[in-house]
Amino acid sequence: MIAKEPMGPLSIASRLPGWSRTSAIERRAQSFGDPIERLRYLRRANATGQRSSRRNWIACLALTMAVVSMRSDAINREPATRAIRVETVAQPVLETRNVWPVEQTSDHDLYSNGLRIENALQISNSPRSYHAIAQGSGTLGPVRTQPAGIVFHTTESHQTPFEPEQTSALKRIGQELLLYVRNQRAYHFVIDRFGRVHRIVAESDAANHAGPSVWADSKWIYLHLNESFLGVAFEGSTYSDEAAMTEAQLRSGKALVEILRAKYNLPAEDCVVHAQISVNPGNWRIGFHTDWGMGFPFREIGLTDNYQIPNPSIYLFGFQYDPVYLSATGPGLWKSLAEAEERVREAAGQHGMNPAEYRKVLQQRFRDRQSVVQPKNASEENQHESN
């Protein structure tokens, strides 16, 4: 015996069965001579305790709701409104601000939040036209021509120090980059290092920015995001000593996201980075491109921290990641990978399969979906699209 200080009024951990059951569980556990059997019994008993506690909690909640509902009948009738409020609190939605065009010329657009978009380099591409796939049912949605979200990129182009003495070099490099991406029809917008926003591919058209890619929100699954998502690139490089984004780029990026979200009513959860959506169906790995795999300032740019969203290509279509991807990304994304893997394991268990077998089912599902929605030239996109 080491010490006899009382433990104080400590409450039981929520994972444990109720006190009335613990002594019975302990007695029953003692009857197992084999330590493995004993541990198996205890873990099951505790799991049952959890489910039982959860059921009790749900029963209490149901009872409370019934009481509230009855009281509401007597006082006022707002059950539907209450339900919506609860959902809003649990999953906050970032409202889009009201931003509108103030001035539109062939040279530039000026918006009410102060952002000026340069139009001199605008070029057309194939008009946007795509189907999203309904979550759950897997049915094809109607043809859409409006973007569903934004993919953020870095240009991964040559960099020079962001210093006053380098101004002419910065301008020259930026101009060469703009001509290159215009030629490639690589993005819808490029934000140069001085924070100037250049429109490249027309918003009504697809741009070659995403390549084979997957994203999903709570309602829809999107494949091949060239068509469905706008591509916004920040001039910068993950692999240089320079910061990947200047202060000016951050300010302009925030204003541009405000404009695009307001214009197309884009949910925050559909504004993601290239590293989250890029896949390689050739080897079933995610992250053919890894730009903004870490350090994208989601919150500063007015979005939720979308790094935390479990990667849909893993849990919906059986893609996997490798150490190279991990080394090119950051802790925010790693958590989302672990959660996506856990979803795969859980779903596999529910289907009575091991995860490897279940992944094959998911991969076949990807092939099936892809054959329906894949653009004609998509198979070559990983070789051609920009960062």
Partner: protein, 334 residues
């Protein structure tokens, strides 16, 4: 130690420690262990050297102009070349200063596990985060999970301290405190009826003792670790200067561990009410020197620890305890 044959169900418990990687398998109702040092050493490449290593069955990898000898043999080569081994892990997690960490940990692990058979399960240990630093372990765990998945295993992880409980505390229905004192971390878990209630780590363990002692004595940390494990006795009497220095740093580590243990239990909110004293078990290579348990218990007794303990004991085989616990966790889920 040679690789044992695959068990009837093939399930493996894997302890990925800063110093060693240990596997546990059940074969004919016995648990068999294999161990490799989680370390490597680089030697200059020559065709002849590579042929000799291959002929002698020394695990190695050719990397450009170097041969990386890994696992148990690395220590001999390091001693021979009068240099320190390089480590894939530090402070309980992947060593970010070592560019070859992922590759080498894969090689060493594969030496022990081989490639998986279809549906073969592996449970590997992961440390708990130090108190107040939750979230730092995601990269480590995710990377190990990926390495093992790539080898073809069905992979699950188990907390290292909880693995000690699963290995040693069946007689108390898996209620008690398990502590694993490894190279990089001391991992602590309080379990109640097999449910982990409180787990955390203390980033002061064997490597701290080795490095601190090395800086005082001028010896290489690798040599200090060998002497520490082979002939050191914590009893207040010193055979030589090294033993005196080791005692000082061991005492520092024990004082820190006990202080963190006491603080964690005093500040925990969701502890269950205990109706009887609980056992505490010590494991890991750093807990192996004779006298460690006695010194730990003495310091703990003096610390006003808020939980009544029935016993403080050392695990049956401190070096393999966590691997055994990982195997027990796996078998209990089958």
């Amino acid at each position: 130690m040679s690789r044992t044959e695959t068990t009837k169900n093939g399930t493996i418990g894997l302890d990925v420690g800063t110093s060693r990687i240990v596997t546990a398998r059940q074969i004919d109702n016995e648990i068999k262990y294999d161990t490799q040092l989680n370390a490597f050493v680089a030697i200059p490449y020559s065709k002849m050297t590579e042929n000799v290593l291959r002929k002698e069955g020394v695990p190695h990898t050719v990397d450009g102009g170097e041969i990386l000898v890994h696992g148990n043999e690395s220590e001999k080569f390091a001693d021979l070349l009068n240099k320190d081994t390089r480590r894939t892990m530090t402070r309980g997690v992947l060593n970010s200063d070592e560019p070859e960490n992922v590759r080498l940990i894969r090689e060493i692990t594969q030496t022990l596990t081989g490639k998986a058979e279809k549906g073969q399960k592996i449970y590997f240990t992961v440390p708990a985060a130090p108190l107040g630093a939750e979230g730092d372990l995601t990269y480590h765990e995710t990377t190990l999970r990926q390495i093992l998945t790539d080898l073809g295993f069905e992979v699950r992880s188990v907390n290292e301290g909880l693995a000690v409980v699963y290995a040693e505390l069946e007689s108390s229905n898996y209620t008690g405190i398990g502590i694993s004192c490894g190279g990089g971390l001391c991992n602590i878990c309080f379990s109640y009826l097999s449910v982990p209630i409180l787990s955390f780590s203390v980033p002061k363990a064997g490597d701290f003792i080795d490095a601190s002692s090395a800086s005082v004595t001028g010896e290489r940390p690798n040599r200090i670790r060998i002497q520490k494990e082979q002939s050191f006795y914590i009893n207040g009497h010193f055979e030589n200067k090294l033993h005196q220095v080791l005692s000082v740093y061991y005492d520092d580590m024990i004082q820190t561990l006990v202080a963190e243990l006491r603080n964690a239990f005093q500040s925990a909110r969701n502890l269950p009410r205990l109706t009887r004293p609980i056992p505490l078990v010590l494991s890991g290579g750093t807990a192996m020197p004779k006298g460690f348990r006695d010194r730990f218990e003495t310091v703990l007794r003096a610390s006003n620890f808020p939980v009544e303990l029935s016993e403080v004991r050392t695990a049956a085989d401190p070096l393999t305890t966590t691997a055994k616990g990982a195997l027990v966790a796996a078998l209990s889920e089958m």
